[in-house]
């Protein structure tokens, strides 16, 4: 054991010889493999495009250092430690999943290195932290807006919930939706649970059908949402389906086909809502390089990058606290997903986009400001 410990410190502990003092090092820790690799993939793509668009800050070239978290908490913690110590990064982007971000950001917090997560939406992630930020809104907000939308725009009096019990995101959204919906006078007539990876929802849907809801709120990830929609339509359920940003991906349409037509999504982003030149440029470059439309996660990845770089520039230094203060005082930043101003708890204040699936694509419906 002792021998190993010694061997180990000789290999892993050594700081890399290349002393790139002239590049600005940003660490990125994302799940590139493992169960949620898809999100890491999309966000990394977005970050890279954003970097291509803004490759410099403080007169130095930005260098992105990617570490794979393998969708695992232990690895996430190791990754952040590695980035801070070995790679001496000045800021961190990541992770994609709230749970893994919660494993990583206590470490960056202690080290005084600011971190921006593209998509960690759980309110627990930034709780009590000064150096942790995110580019997305949080679950309570999303759930509430969804409920308001359902009541006012969709005129729904009753709703049925289908919640993925294995995802904190889904459970959170469902719960906040239910609270707001009931507060606004609606009634939840049926609640069913699924698990990530489930493929058969016929039983849950049959029960739901019996309750005859006006709308179905199913804040799940795209695979489950697509399959759910398909099976619901096959059973003849006509109620509109409302889902969350986790479903916002091309894969939803490719898997769901006709069944997801008319599905509403609360989300961060839509290319039509993207008015600013920067957003348009981002979309153009992304489509050109990757031959597909950027989805919400790619956009958020890009936004996380823009947030950090903008803060570095305004801070005028690589000092962690200065960057952190700059991040907290971000106002009206021109981002891909809209205009971002940083609010409480490292969470941006921004409008929520409502999208709809129409004619095999995502169509922009409206933006709801907080």
């Amino acid at each position: 054991m002792v021998v190993f410990a010694v061997c180990f410190c000789l290999t892993a502990g050594s700081v890399r010889a290349e002393d790139c003092r002239d590049s600005l090092r940003i660490g990125v820790y994302l799940p590139m493999t493992g169960s949620v690799a898809a999100y890491g993939d999309m966000e990394w793509a977005g970050i890279r495009i954003a970097r291509d668009m803004e490759p410099e800050a403080l007169g130095r070239k930005v260098e992105l250092l990617l570490v794979d978290t393998k969708s695992d908490k232990i690895e996430a913690a190791n990754a952040v430690t590695l980035l801070i110590e070995r790679d001496k990064v000045v800021g961190i982007l990541g992770e994609a999943i709230s749970g893994n971000t919660m494993a990583g950001n206590p470490i960056s917090e202690l080290a005084g290195i600011p971190s921006v997560s593209p998509s960690a939406t759980s309110p627990l992630v930034n709780q009590g932290k000064k150096f942790a930020f995110r580019a997305c809104f949080i679950d309570p907000f999303q759930g509430q807006v969804a409920a308001r939308f359902a009541r006012s725009r969709l005129q729904a009096a009753t709703a049925a919930l289908i919640i993925d019990n294995a995802q904190d995101y889904s459970v959170g959204l469902g719960s906040f939706f239910a609270k707001q919906f009931t507060k606004d006078g609606g009634k939840i007539v049926s609640t069913a649970y699924i698990q990530t990876g489930d493929q058969d929802f016929s039983a849950q849907l049959s029960t739901l059908q019996a309750a005859n809801p006006d709308i179905i709120y199913a804040p799940n990830y795209y695979t489950e949402s697509a399959l759910l929609a398909k099976q619901a339509r096959d059973l003849g359920i006509r109620a509109p389906i409302l889902t969350g940003d986790g479903a916002h991906s091309d894969t939803l349409i490719r898997i769901g086909g006709n069944a997801v037509e008319g599905m509403f999504l609360t989300g961060h982003f839509h290319r039509d809502a993207a008015g600013s030149p920067r957003a348009k440029e981002f979309i153009r470059r992304f489509t050109e390089q990757y031959k597909r439309d950027p989805d919400a996660f790619a956009a958020l990845g890009g936004d996380a990058y823009f947030l950090l770089i903008d803060a570095v520039r305004r801070a005028g230094s690589t000092d962690g606290s200065r960057i952190r203060d700059a991040l907290a005082s971000t106002r009206g930043l021109d981002a891909v997903s809209g205009s971002i101003s940083m609010g409480e708890g490292g969470t941006p204040v921004k409008g929520m986009v409502i999208n709809k699936v129409e004619n095999g694509g995502f169509v922009y419906v409206t933006t709801i400001e907080p």
Binding site: T33, A37, A192, Y193, Q195, G197, Q199, A203, T251, I255
Partner: protein
Amino acid sequence: MINGISLGSLYALVAIGYTMVYGILRLINFAHGDLLMFAAYSALYGTTLFALPWYWSFPLALLGTGLLGILVERSAYRPLRGAPRISLLISAIGVSFLLENLALVVIGGVPKPFPRPEVFDRVVEFMGIRIPVLTLYTPIITLVLLSGLLAVVFRTRVGKAMRAASTDFETTQLMGINLDRIISVTFLLGSVLAAAGGIMWSMKYPQVNPFMGVLPGLKAFIAAVLGGIGNIFGAVLGGFVLGVGEIFIVALVPQLSQYRDALSFLALILMLLFRPTGILGEPVEEKV
């Protein structure tokens, strides 16, 4: 109910493969579920990348998976024939993970949609209930494949050899039967059936990802045990029991739907406690 039968036949298809291999080799092939995944991906790429019509790419996928099954047996299980059982099991787990991670590396983690050919996409009205035509086709196709299999097992010489090997491994060898070939045939048949199950699974739940085979594989194993492992009829019966049971429980008690998988495992545990040889199994004497 019909959903249950449909689901059940899928489980049955995969369970048969498990049970056949177990019957002869006394090995739980953990990688069986991943063969399902391989078949789905092969069919997917056949149809999209090579632009083959489905009636070409599906059978090709079946064949490919069968060959993969034989390859796995040759490389990962045969060398361990004389080894303690635990080594075989570990090897099976290793193969399973290898296949999954290779798929992850080569294909990527993003789930891909599975193209459902037109023929299977229609919905029929039947006594006021709408049923996708696929749900009806699945049990039918299963029965067809099953009868084909039974014909092989009970009517041909190869089948007879397989049955002999599953009853008594060593004696069969002594009788001059080429056991290696028999085993390869077993794997071939089992894998092809799993592949069929995989393709139909992907048509019903049209998305493929590298880990899609894990849960069906485990469920199929439970089905095989429920019905009596080593017994083909048992596997079929177990598959249906499990499929119908799952659907019913969730329909009757929606609160429990999140526990669906846990309940399947619970059923397994209970079965192993009280009737380890399954519904149709025969008690096995341990010879000292």
